[in-house]
């Protein structure tokens, strides 16, 4: 049995008696959003696919790098300073550009797309002789330095004598108290409730909702999955991809659409905006996710055409868009060749 003596031999333990009226809140919070979060409807486990190198490179290429949007002025309530102008040599400029690349990578790091986590069920011991020692449960956390919050030990002694590992909500709350993550509140903001999210989405505040969800929840939290998938589906239905395109959320959104077989709207959008590189990358991603193959065609036009003839779900619209694109492309080439002939 994990005795009190054994617990005190850990480097540092603090106990935090939680009052009875707060006990109920832990059980309520996990079911704030509707039960559709439990069935993501994916063809594969997203956790397997997301971290693969080829998938990561494809998603990064799709996101692009619009430096103006990524490095936009952020309003954080800080005292503003006037901009500095410096005179640099070419070597110094290269050095600064290299530093900027690192910063860009950090800002564009994609939040992982995972499946929902399983609830924690481990029980260390059951001591019925301790029953009724108090009205409330005691939560213990190991606050030593050098451990990540995912690996931190958080255990709970219930009034019925059970010593168990803390549930995910209890863990998050305790870790937030002692090791606060910036931007995260202890109580879930009301913005993530049903009606309020819809209000934000209707005002096109997609980046705000997703950023806040990243700060508030872990990527395998059922609430996070529900909020993010709702946002991605809304963006897809209303084809408002441009606002999210240069952000860190575009990659996970594209992967979500590919996994849930909704990528045709996005392909349509790329063809209409004549972004053939992005369209080709999207088709390559589809093949990678579907059966781990990378397609052998080198020509991007052929690749896209094969997809539209083959696995596409919205064939009529895509074919129409593709034909009109090909015509415009042909005309452009003719004009170009005429100009070349004229100049020669």
């Amino acid at each position: 049995m994990a005795t009190r003596a054994a617990m005190f031999t850990f480097s540092k333990f603090r106990y935090f008696p939680i009052l009875k009226h707060r006990v109920a809140k832990f059980s309520v919070s996990s079911n704030l959003l509707n039960a559709s979060a439990l069935e993501p409807g994916y063809s594969r486990d997203p956790g397997e696919v997301f971290f693969k190198e080829n998938v990561q490179t494809l998603l990064e290429r799709l996101t692009g790098r619009d430096c103006d949007k990524v490095f936009h002025n952020r309003k954080l309530g800080e005292r503003l300073e006037p901009p500095k102008y410096e005179l640099l040599t070419q070597a110094e400029v290269d050095h600064v550009m290299a530093e900027m690349e690192v910063k860009l990578k950090r800002k564009l790091q994609m939040p992982p797309l995972l499946k929902e986590r399983d609830p924690i069920k481990k029980i260390y011991s059951f001591n019925p002789e301790l029953q009724g020692f108090d009205d409330s449960k005691y939560v213990f956390i190991n606050i030593s330095q050098g451990i990540t919050n995912r690996n931190r030990e958080v255990v709970v002694r219930d009034p019925n004598g059970v010593l168990r590992e803390a549930s995910w909500e209890e863990r998050q709350r305790m870790c937030q108290i002692y090791f606060p993550v910036p931007g995260r509140k202890i109580n879930v903001p009301k913005m993530f409730e049903e009606g309020n999210i819809q209000n934000c989405l209707d005002r096109d505040e997609f980046e705000f909702v997703l950023d806040r969800a990243c700060a508030q929840f872990d990527p395998d939290d059922p609430e996070y999955i529900s909020v993010t998938r709702k946002t991605y589906d809304f963006v897809d239905e209303n084809t408002k991809y441009t606002s999210l395109r240069p952000t860190r959320h575009f990659g996970p959104m594209v992967l979500h659409l590919v996994l849930s077989k909704k990528m045709d709207n996005l392909l349509f959008h790329f063809i209409n905006t004549k972004d053939i590189d992005a369209a080709a990358n999207l088709v390559r991603l589809f093949h990678t996710v579907a059966d781990d193959t990378s397609p052998t065609e080198v020509d991007e036009f052929q690749l896209i055409e094969n997809y539209i003839q083959g696995p596409a779900l919205k064939k009529p619209a895509l074919e129409l868009a593709w034909q009109s694109f090909l015509e415009i492309e042909k005309q452009r080439r003719e004009v170009h060749s005429q100009q070349n002939n004229a100049s020669n």
């Binding site: 950090r106 992982p112 995912r150 700060a215």
Partner: protein, 210 residues
């Protein structure tokens, strides 16, 4: 000296036995009381609590209505709903009064010297304005600080760095500044006001055991 009294439009709906127009000044200082007539709340009318015997001979009716427009505008006992305030912000009256500026821009504080002291604790005491130069929110009774009234709240957030403007700039009294802070915090919680969230960085090894 007799105080001047003016009958307001609402009184046309009332049937008065005697309408009083000139009364000795001692009655001006009575405590204000609410009178309800035909469902309309008259916030600006006062009634006599007690009358002295020598005045009774001229006015035998003990519950006469006295209207005092100057002091009527100082009453702040009506609870105005937020929706009314939100409508008011879109109205013509608002735009002519304030132009396109935030409500605090055309307000001027009165103090001696170059540096303003802290703003007063509150402009409203015992349900009426207790000062001659109330702060920008207290002086207009249709400006309600509520988390839903985002248009008004945004006027007090700096467009440059997203911070809430201090009272040195806006001139709000301390109670209204506190109400403003609460309303803005609540609006951000509900997602009605957007702001830049700190970037969350991930360690992929936490989620991907390779």
């Amino acid at each position: 000296m007799t105080a001047r009294f003016v009958l307001s439009r609402c009184f046309s709906r009332l049937t008065l036995k005697q309408s009083v127009f000139t009364v000795p000044s001692k009655y001006v200082n009575n405590l204000p009381m609410l009178l309800k007539t035909e469902g309309i709340q008259l916030s600006f009318a006062r009634s006599f609590a007690e009358t002295t015997s020598d005045e009774v001979s001229t006015n035998s009716n003990p519950e006469e209505l006295i209207v005092d427009e100057k002091n009527a505008s100082k009453m702040r006992n009506r609870a105005i709903p937020v929706e009314t305030s939100m409508k008011y912000l879109k109205s013509k009256g608002y735009s002519t009064t304030y132009g396109g500026d935030p409500v605090w821009v055309r307000y001027r504080r009165n103090f001696k010297g170059q540096f303003a002291p802290r703003t007063r604790k509150t402009c409203i005491r015992q349900e009426k304005l207790a000062t001659g130069n109330p702060c920008p929110i207290c002086r207009d009774e249709y400006l309600i600080l509520d988390y839903r009234n985002v248009e008004l709240l945004k006027q007090f957030i700096s467009p440059f760095n997203g911070a809430i403007l201090p009272t040195e700039k806006t001139g709000l009294c301390q109670t209204k500044q506190r109400e403003l802070l609460v309303a803005i915090l609540k609006a951000k919680d509900y997602g009605l006001i957007t702001f830049d969230v700190p970037i969350r960085e991930y360690d992929y090894s936490d989620y991907h055991k390779s």
